[in-house]
């Protein structure tokens, strides 16, 4: 890679394939701190796979993923897990909240998952700050089952940012929300990413929220190898 890594997140052209025949090819991505990118495509096109490649959960068969001048895709599994917990805030379509934990405990969950983070008074202060930022401070003692869908997703966003993550990866964050809430959540994600100087990548097939983000990238399904050969 020959860039100067002036961007927070950079990739070369990424390729990934599965034994089942699934193929993904994504052109290079460059995202600066505070920038947001919407990744759109139909179901099964590989949006979630791209997010997994960017977070280091999966490794590309070709190409590299760089974050803050460090090549993530060439490092060990342990390094990539530590990278995810410290730098990548993940937001899921079905929220991914732990039902047995309260809102505050869910937000603090990353601190219990890896030894690189310490659950101390600063972490708790930060969790309260993040809950305030998403408007859930008054409901910090409630459990996920006692929240609306929008509140659950806002809890998940607070959890993604509590570690000071500078890469926010949101997989269909509005997929389970009412139309009225979709735009609120999309705008909240973008605004929080900007204020936290984080790079935001949102995978969505919802065209109505694309314009909330700085840029958009479209992924098209890749034909299986045998079909390509036939063409």
């Amino acid at each position: 890679m020959t860039t100067l890594h002036s961007n927070l997140l950079e990739t070369t052209t990424l390729e990934f394939s599965r034994p089942s025949g699934f193929q993904l090819r994504v052109d290079a991505i460059h995202l600066a701190a505070g920038e947001s990118l919407a990744v759109r495509g139909v179901s099964g096109s590989g949006k979630s796979t791209l997010l997994a490649l960017l977070s280091g959960e999966l490794l590309p068969s070709k190409g590299e993923v760089w974050f803050d001048s460090a090549c993530v895709s060439s490092r060990s599994d342990a390094f990539r897990r530590a990278f995810r917990i410290r730098n990548a805030g993940l937001v899921f379509q079905d929220f991914g909240l732990v039902e047995s934990l309260s809102v505050l405990e869910n937000v603090l969950l990353p601190f219990r998952l890896h030894n690189t983070l310490t659950l101390d008074a600063d972490a708790r202060d930060r969790a309260h700050t993040m809950l305030g930022a998403v408007g859930l401070h008054a409901k910090s003692a409630r459990f996920p089952a006692q929240l609306s869908h929008g509140e659950r997703q806002r809890t998940a966003i607070a959890r993604a940012l509590v570690t000071g993550a500078r890469l926010i990866l949101a997989d269909e964050p509005t997929g389970n929300l009412d139309p009225a809430l979709k735009h609120d959540i999309a705008s909240l994600l973008r605004d929080i990413a900007r204020s936290a100087h984080a790079a935001l990548v949102v995978a969505t097939h919802d065209e109505s929220i694309i314009d909330r983000f700085d840029r958009a990238l479209t992924i098209t399904p890749q034909p299986a190898p045998e079909l390509r050969g036939a063409q």
């Binding site: 995810r84 991914g96 732990v98 990353p110 998952l113």
Partner: protein, 410 residues
Amino acid sequence: MSAVLRAPMHAFFLAVRALRFAWQRNLLLLLALSFALALPLATRATVKAATHELDSRAQSTPLLLGAAQSDFDLVFAALWFSPMPHPTTTGSMRDLALVETDDLATAIPLVLGSTARTSPVVGTTLDYLAFRNLRFAQGRPFALVGQCVLGSQAAIALNLHVGEKVFTDPGALTDLAGVFPIELEITGILATTGTADDAAIFVDTSTAWTIRGVGHFHAPPTVADQATGRVIGQKPDGSLIAGEALPIESAPTTASAQDFHFHGDLSDAPLSAAIVIPKSAKAQAILLGRFDEARSSDLSGARPRLLRPIEVSDRVSQRIFTVERLLDAVAVAALIGTLAVVLLSFALGIKLRAEELRVMHRMGASRARIALFLSTEALCILVLASAIALALARFASQGAGALVAWIVQG
């Protein structure tokens, strides 16, 4: 918190939260596992305590003399005061002479078979209290006919105190020549010993024989009683001959106690058993040899037997151990079945939370860390279940006395 402790502490926190969240399911798992673990533990603890109680009582009694046909009947009756199923086979005071000849041993007589408000009445001498090291919590030993001393449990169960009185139970109502109730005066209450003595009422052998109708009290007759038929004649020495009309009293009065008497030869008075205390090991061997030889040469089976209670107790313990092994096998089968159900339920619980666990992994938790979370949950249940099982087993072992009572009472 040090880095080494951080992971287990977080795992414990998450485990407690997860257990609390599904508390109904986890409570059921906990109870099922607790009882499955408690069953073999309780069996072992109870059997151990029961056999210890059997052995210690038997161990403290060197030899037993008695005419009961069964070794078990004799030992159970003499050591735990269980009802003797063959009362007609009791011996007599004459048997005591057999062990006390040649100064080989001393014997403490036991006259059993009577009860007072269902508590066993034990006729014996004060030597018994000394032999069993029975101390008084209140009062003093019995001194006169018609007096008694209560074991601590008997006093509590009957709600009786020193100075009060208790009637002995009548025999069969249809047996007019049988046991008549007499009133016993309580002179003392014994300290708790944790043995069968706690449940008994101790009286002098004379009192025991009176209960059985061998001796009796009545007011001293006078010549004037001839008019009422209470006196039917006078002997040349001036003593009066009492008639059937002379009433027998149920309790000694100052006057009647002076005229307390037995009819017939006291050496023929009934004897249920006797604790024999040999002077030495050699004396014990000689006595056992004598009695074995005498019984083997007497085909009538009327000769009293002399036996070592510990040998009988060992045989009882062996039977208990056999039952324990059977119970162990059942308990292990139940435990395996319960464990299978618990594991299945736990696995289903994890499957229901698969998405949560997948999210944790995607966020950066290693598989080892997630395994730690789940194993901590399982460990919490196991530790709690073990603690409950131990408590249950401990509680059950306190029922060892009841088990012994059940064994000796048949």
